[in-house]
Amino acid sequence: MSVDTDERPVRCLVAKVGLDGHDRGAHVIARAFRDAGFEVVYSGLHRAPEEIVQAAVQEDVDVLGISILSGAHNTLVPKVIDGLEAYSALDDTLVIVGGIVPDDDEDALKAAGVAEVFGPGTPMSETVDFVRANLPERA
């Protein structure tokens, strides 16, 4: 990477929301994003939806990756999405979810504004490629 590139790095927030304390997946994806040249802000564990929204807005990220393994995605993820909407930040934030999400829930999350859900065992390169291909256009 040269010192002055015109290409701006992808900024993303990797967020752990709610009470689940399993952050291995979040760490792995954060590293994969970093190695792909992204700037990754990591939220730390046990964040409330409002905190995630605050972080996503302040850090002005292109991508919000929510890692959730507790099964509470149906309550927590929509709260985050509503929060982003309230700051009119949803349009240019790519929201993706990683974790164990049943198919029915996946459809509901997608309807709510999640771009994609990545289950266990998804190759890192698949997630990275998806992000690259679906980056929101910045006004």
Partner: protein, 408 residues
């Protein structure tokens, strides 16, 4: 910034020769001081208090995206009211935790807070994991604490500029206190933290060798020293070592220090604020003990910051320090502009590879090539200076409100 006359000449020069390749952002931006409508709206909503606009402006600054200079320049008018505090120290010293507690204490006294946390980026991929936010737990959901992580992105020398510009944005937004957090290793980090009015250097107990390394570079920039994790073994000794070093640094240390201050927060603040008769500051950096984890000593640290701010104002050093900083900023900008012009000129002369090949074949030498490339720029400058020499603009003596007393 580049004046209008120079711009006109530059354009003339350009027209007489081959059309330039793609203009670099730096120089192109200098051509006008007018904001585009969209950027004007962005500035407007930042000043109106939109967090999202603030976040977006900082992104534009980080990205050096087209037009960012005009945005910063438009915001500049609204700055000068924030206290800017830099916090540095070795990895693991507890900077992020301390910043979290400082933000809380500042909020408790009613101040709004901006934080810029700078982390290094990988020199290989450019990627970075910015983890400073993890420690921000005390001010959850409080949008009056605006926390922004920045990656060093390998910008040589540009990082301090980007940080300073981000601080400008936060200041214009109306933040009362702005904290800049960065790892205290390397020149660029030192440059970053020096964009602050007050610099705190964080050390952890038992860091005997750490304190030794502080001598090189960091000791000189500390206005306040913090021994964090003050509840750990060796804390008093580390403070004593620091105290001693600070006093060796302050050769004119006539002030005596009362013994018996122990425990977190026992700062030597009061005697540190002396101002000698000639108005120059005799600021002796206090050494403050804190336990960031519990928040102990944080109030005393804030007092030390306040005392330093007051001392800076009273002695007139603040004005001098800010003048220095503005001078550095102007130099950086001009270098970038002139560098961009030079790149254009290189392109006009056939590109660097072709020029190098000519040297290799023995047709010319690097000195001649450099002279040829710089010549058009030189001629423009000469023409411009000849024209404007009669109407040399003097910097007006209008003073800026550096100190609280002058703010309003």
């Amino acid at each position: 910034m580049v004046g209008r006359d120079t711009d006109t000449d530059r354009d003339e020069a350009r027209n007489t020769e081959e059309p330039a390749g793609e203009r670099q952002e730096g120089a192109a931006d200098g051509a006008s001081t007018d904001l585009t409508d969209r950027d004007a709206a962005l500035v407007e909503s930042l000043l109106d208090g939109s967090h999202r606009a603030l976040a977006r402006v900082i992104s534009r600054i980080e990205d050096r995206s087209p037009g960012y200079r005009r945005i910063v320049s438009a915001l500049h008018d609204h700055t000068g009211t924030a206290d800017v505090i830099g916090i540095t120290g070795s990895p693991g010293a507890g900077k992020s935790t301390l910043v979290d507690k400082l933000a809380l204490a500042l909020r408790d006294r009613g101040d709004t807070v901006g934080v810029v946390a700078v982390d290094p980026a990988s020199p290989y991929t450019g990627g970075a994991v910015l983890g400073d936010r993890i420690r921000m737990a005390s001010t959850v959901g409080d949008m009056d604490v605006f926390f922004r992580s920045m990656s060093a992105r390998g910008q040589l020398g540009g990082l301090s500029m980007a940080t300073a510009d981000a601080v400008t944005a936060l200041d214009a937004f109306g933040k009362d206190t702005i904290l800049i957090e960065t790892v205290g290793a390397g020149q660029s980090e030192i440059d970053v933290v020096r964009t602050a009015d007050t610099v705190a250097v964080l050390v952890q107990p038992g860091a005997g060798d750490d304190v030794q390394t502080l001598k090189a570079g960091i000791l000189e920039i500390g206005d306040v020293f913090v021994v964090n994790k003050f509840d750990r073994e060796g804390a008093e000794r580390t403070r004593a070592e620091l105290d001693e070093m600070v006093h060796r640094r302050e050769e004119s240390a006539e002030t005596t220090h009362p013994a018996g201050h122990h425990g977190p927060g026992a700062a030597r603040v009061v005697e540190a604020t002396d101002t000698s008769d000639d108005g120059s500051s005799t600021w002796t950096p206090p050494v403050v003990g804190t336990v960031a984890e519990t928040g102990e000593g944080v109030d005393a640290l804030l007092e030390a910051f306040d005392a330093h701010a007051t001392a800076l104002c009273d002695s007139g050093e603040l004005a001098a320090a800010r003048r220095h900083r503005h001078a550095a900023a102007i130099r950086t900008l001009i270098r970038a502009d002139v560098g961009a012009l030079a790149s254009d000129s290189i392109a006009e002369h056939g590109g660097i590879d072709a020029l190098a090949e000519r040297v290799r074949r023995g047709e010319t030498d690097p000195y001649t090539v450099a002279a040829e490339v710089v010549d058009p720029i030189e001629r423009c400058v000469e023409r411009a200076t000849n024209r404007t020499s009669s109407e040399t603009s003097q910097p007006d003596t209008e003073s800026r409100r550096d100190c609280p007393s002058e703010k309003d």
